[in-house]
């Protein structure tokens, strides 16, 4: 029947939709995108692993046996272990306040939460030096009380918290706004205390969005270079995080060790990407509420 109305050749020539480009334009666009990704993302990643294993598995493993590498790994884990929970709590509190209450200065608070994303990390680090450094505002007081922030672990943790604090809040604010307060109100009328309602209603409703944002927050906390570099002082075995350790090894022409340590960070990135994709695939709706605003 249909042949009489639309000959096959006609149907083939007709574009599927007015917003679809011709076959050649499509191929060129896709080709450019793939080439670009290969050149700027896949090639460097392959290089990292290739360089790391350039002198064999033993040389690769040797990079992790020296004490400085251990110290760097420990410090990175410690920093993330403090910064991530801190930002988790802060992020939940801030998004709760912003999504569920009306108060003066709310828009300003939302803008401030975004600040670390728009400021260069080096500037973030410098701010801490200016505040907590020996010549800084709080410097004399800190020296009097024998507290060292800059060129020490506290400074690294502070700088990491600063650069990573938007992750959780930005994900949760739109999610919580979308969910409103009706379920919490229902819980309260049923006799639940505020804390019980939070634990049994609010938290389960945001759990996947929260996990997603914690994942991204953690990846950034472990990988942060700029801000940490300014406040760290690069003291080997004391204030070197993994990214800083990579830089030091590289500057010493110790390429295998440098790339070996770098492969650890690259591996972290790949795992993060994988888990992130799984979460996005499985809990798309809940995460999309947050992603829309990014």
């Amino acid at each position: 029947m249909s042949e009489t109305f639309a000959p096959v050749t006609m149907a083939e020539a007709r574009p599927a939709s007015v917003v679809t480009e011709g076959r050649w334009i499509r191929r060129i666009l896709i080709g450019i995108a793939i080439l670009f990704l290969a050149l700027f993302l896949v090639l460097p990643l392959v290089t990292v692993f290739a360089q790391a294993f350039a002198k064999g598995l033993n040389a690769y493993l040797a990079a992790f046996t020296e004490t400085d590498a251990h110290a760097a790994i420990r410090l990175t884990l410690l920093t993330a272990a403090i910064a991530v929970p801190f930002n988790l709590v802060f992020g939940i509190m801030a998004s709760w306040a912003i999504a569920k209450f009306e108060f003066w200065g709310k828009n300003l608070l939302v803008t401030l939460i975004d600040l670390p994303f728009s400021v260069s990390p080096v500037v973030s680090g410098l701010i801490y030096v200016l505040v907590f450094g020996a010549q800084g505002l709080a410097g004399p007081w800190l020296i009097d009380h024998d507290i060292q922030v800059i060129f020490a672990v506290p400074g690294i943790v502070l700088a990491t918290i600063f650069v990573t604090f938007p992750f959780v809040a930005r994900q949760l604010i739109p999610l919580m706004q979308e969910q409103g307060t009706a379920e919490e109100e229902a819980a309260l009328t049923l006799g639940a205390s505020g804390w019980h309602a939070f634990r049994t209603v609010t938290l389960p409703n945001i759990r996947w969005g929260l996990l997603y944002s914690v994942l991204l927050c953690n990846a950034r906390a472990m990988g942060e270079f700029g801000a940490v570099s300014v406040v760290s002082g690069h003291i080997r075995g004391l204030t070197n995080t993994l990214p800083l350790h990579v830089e030091i090894l590289y500057n010493e022409y110790n390429f295998v060790a440098s790339f070996a340590v770098a492969s650890l960070l690259a591996g972290l990135a790949l795992v993060t990407l994988l888990v992130k994709s799984l979460l996005e695939w499985r809990y798309a709706d809940e995460i999309a509420a947050g992603a829309r605003r990014h």
Partner: protein
């Protein structure tokens, strides 16, 4: 505590005293007072913005008044936190806990209690089962809210509220999000549940039919004030104001004059009686079925037929009046009037209120 004292018919379960509430600068409740009787099903009826939902939320403890008191039985509950008020609240959009099964939703209030007050697991399970039977969803304990229809969700929400044995059940536009047929079924069903449990219940609605069909008494609200409270018959037969009358259904509004207790329209006597003390120019309000087609001296009003349509064995005819207003007349579906034909209308009933 919920118990025998409030079950005594006619005693006051909740007293709302001189309540005032202002949001930002807009007053939503002005010096509002109302008594709710134990065991009654009371409708709060009003247009949007009349303050009915705010009143319900203040009774529940989800909002707090600027002024006035809420008294439960003999206890001043004005400052009582929501958790201690023992109210069951049903939300327009159900507000079921999405991540919990139906059984866990219903058991939520019992599980939220402190260990000492919490019933044993087996007892909770039995109570959930009984409630599922009551709402006729026995096989649904392990389902999740997303697997249920709107009507089923609202029944679960009601069971969840009833599980904590509240002293009053508060429903905020409970059928507002449902389609017409489900709404009708649920109305009848809610009435049955109420008759069986005798639970003091207040529900908010902007739907006159719902309020009149379902409730023992209707409280009509307008602009944050109580216009009238009474049985559905009382508010329909003896509305205290034009606002109440107009809100309860379609009305025709005409100029009239009261002389010696008689109401005249265009100089002709009507069967409508005027309240004592009302004299001079007034407004007469009639329902579409309180007008008849008539000719000559019998007609109070004149007009031209604009259009007509049939509905459920009756017909509704729109008549354009000379001064420009259009009135709707409801008549038996017998004589048809062609558009453009001149007709006379006779008023056979209605109410008058001062201008």
């Amino acid at each position: 505590m919920p118990g025998a004292t409030e079950r005594v018919g006619g005693s006051t379960a909740i007293r709302v005293e001189n309540l005032s509430k202002t949001f930002d600068t807009a007053a939503v409740l002005h010096d509002f007072s109302l008594d709710v009787r134990a065991g009654e099903l009371l409708a709060l009826l009003g247009p949007s913005g009349s303050g009915k939902t705010t009143l319900l939320r203040i009774i529940a403890g989800l909002d707090f008044p600027d002024d006035g008191r809420i008294v439960f039985g003999a206890e001043d509950a004005t400052k009582l936190p929501v958790q201690q008020r023992a109210v069951g609240f049903v939300f327009q959009h159900y507000a079921l806990f999405k991540h919990m099964s139906v059984a866990d939703n219903i058991a939520y209030g019992l599980n939220a209690r402190k260990r000492a007050d919490r019933p044993a697991k087996a007892e909770i399970k039995k109570r959930v089962g009984d409630l599922l039977d009551l709402i006729k969803l026995s096989g649904f304990a392990d389902r999740y809210p997303s697997q249920l229809s709107g009507g089923q969700r609202q029944r679960i929400a009601l069971a969840r509220a009833l599980a904590v044995e509240p002293r009053v059940l508060l429903l905020d536009e409970p059928f507002g999000a449902l389609d017409a047929q489900v709404r009708k079924d649920l109305r009848r069903w809610l009435r049955e549940i109420h008759d069986r449990t005798g639970q003091t219940t207040i529900f908010v609605t902007h739907d006159q039919d719902e309020a009149l069909e379902l409730s023992d008494r209707v409280a009509v609200l307008a602009k944050g004030r109580l216009e009238q409270v009474g049985t559905p018959d009382e508010v329909q037969e003896a509305p205290v104001s034009a606002t109440v009358l107009k809100f309860l259904g379609d009305t025709i509004e005409v100029e009239a004059i009261v002389q010696a207790g008689q109401v005249r329209v265009n100089g002709r006597l009507t069967p409508v009686s005027a309240p004592a003390g009302l004299v001079g120019p007034v407004k007469l309000y009639a329902r579409p079925w309180q007008l008849q087609f008539a000719e000559g001296d019998q007609a109070h009003l004149e007009g031209v037929v604009r259009s007509s349509y049939r509905t459920q064995g009756r017909q509704r005819i729109e008549v354009d009046r000379p001064e420009g207003k259009t009135v709707v007349v409801e008549a038996a579906d017998t004589n048809r009037f062609a558009a453009g034909s001149p007709v006379g209308l006779r008023i056979i009933g209605g109410h008058v209120f001062p201008n």
